[in-house]
Amino acid sequence: MSHKVIGCSVEQINGSKKVTGKSKFTDDLKMQGMLIAKVLRSNIPHARIKKIDISIAEKIPGVIAVLTAKDIQGENSVGIIIKDEPVLTDEKIRRIGEPIALIAAETEEQADMALAAIDVKLEEIQGVFDPEEALQPSATLVHKGGNLLVHKKLRRGDAETAFKEAIVTAESNYITQMVEHAYIEPEAGIAYCDQDKVILLVSTQDPHYDREEIARVLGIGQHKVRVIQQPTGGGFGGKLDISVQCHVALLARATGRPVKLTYTRQESIIASPKRHPYKIYYKSAAGEDGKLLGVKVKIICDTGAYASYGPAVVTRALVHATGPYSIPNVHVDAYGVFTNNPVCGAMRGFGVPQMAFAHESQMDILAEKLNISPWEIRRRNFLTPGAITGTGQKLGQSVGILETLNKVQSYVKEQGWGN
């Protein structure tokens, strides 16, 4: 079928605004009477709050509002999947960067002075920083319900038998690191009130989710909240969680004035969710023909202090653990674990890049043992149209994995690259 515009490399809509510097990102906006917001954050990872004294901070000239948890009229919690993260904490601190109080002031300097004037008395608690330690019965609890956020299982066929019948096996442990999204635009948002409505201008990946959370936290109907995404300077999953949204909305309601909060780069790195670090225990079994017979995988994901996208990342890791291969016997356990580390959430690939590191290393190890090329072992095992996946799904016709490999191989050959 011939198309008129599908398949055409038309230039980006609004691109001419971007190349001329006319695109208004959130921090580029100013409003009449706008206040500057700052967030007081914890600098220790695990503690109980004994007292928050804002009396001095409130008196600093130019400081219009100082808010703590008790000023929240709706629910004091946010979270994409589980609402486990306080908007402002007044009980327990579970990570460094946890928000404790909000300031709105006429100038940034005044806001900074107010931040320094808030007195927080804490009782430190021993933290837990390794997910496997966190699963020990003696471990300090990050949340009341225990440190296990989620345990997901994938079972297909009989992996034990597959390993008995295997000609070659490979067993390895893989470790991946925590990673920052590093979008070049730090988080930013402006909130203002228009009669009984709260309006937000914000750098975000999902204004509708923001609306839901703001309404719940303010204790008002979703129809009273309007969230307008501004040009957003990258996200990569890091602008899915709530960052500034509820904070500026609370301050705008409290002051009746427009309020802007823009993170510094440091604050962005400290406060924003990260890519989950994984520990992966991976066993693969193959037959003489180089075909995979089974895999057995255990995955431990450190989700940090709060769930964020953790449960989804764990599930995705589970489903994608096999890689793009037909494997009749699959046995995967994936665990998401709370620690006092920074929160881990969504980042480009949702737990799959970690798994790819493991399953693709395994393929090369098996290829070497079987004395076939890395190209060949993949070819022999790729999913094909109509194949059954580890979750028992019968694939449709759009399965181009073999074609991608073939195209890459011929391209490399044409260029005369490699060995």
Binding site: Q12, S16, T20, G21, Y183, G234
Partner: protein
Amino acid sequence: MKLEVLQFELNARKVSVRVKPDATLLDVLREDLDLTGAKRGCGEGECGACTVLIDGMPVDSCIYPALKAAGKNIETIEGLGTEDNLHPVQKAFLDEGAVQCGFCTPGMILTTTALLAKNQSPSEEEVKVALSGNLCRCTGYTKIINAVKVAARNINKL
């Protein structure tokens, strides 16, 4: 706090503005002159999103004291081309798909114009050296390098 008078040439116009003595050039451009094309990505001269040209040279305006700019010639993205009349570098970035989120774009484009003013047909290595102070997280740089090459060709044709 006493404000100081700062005078310089900005996008080919003489400008006089009263500034805080400890303001950076980026503060003054964004807050006082309402030129928000230069962005604050890191505030410490590491990402290049705040790049402006001072006497034709790319500079990180986020760590450049505003009063240091007295008497100098400053160019910002706003002084380059307009949406209806794009500068060849702006046009090349747009045509070649070198723009994704657009946050690093003004800085990238200014650094490129400074390079092409000095070197009309830079090699790929020279492009990389020139743009090594401008971080981009979206594009992977491939299309940016193409755009610089295309812009160089188009400028030479003018």
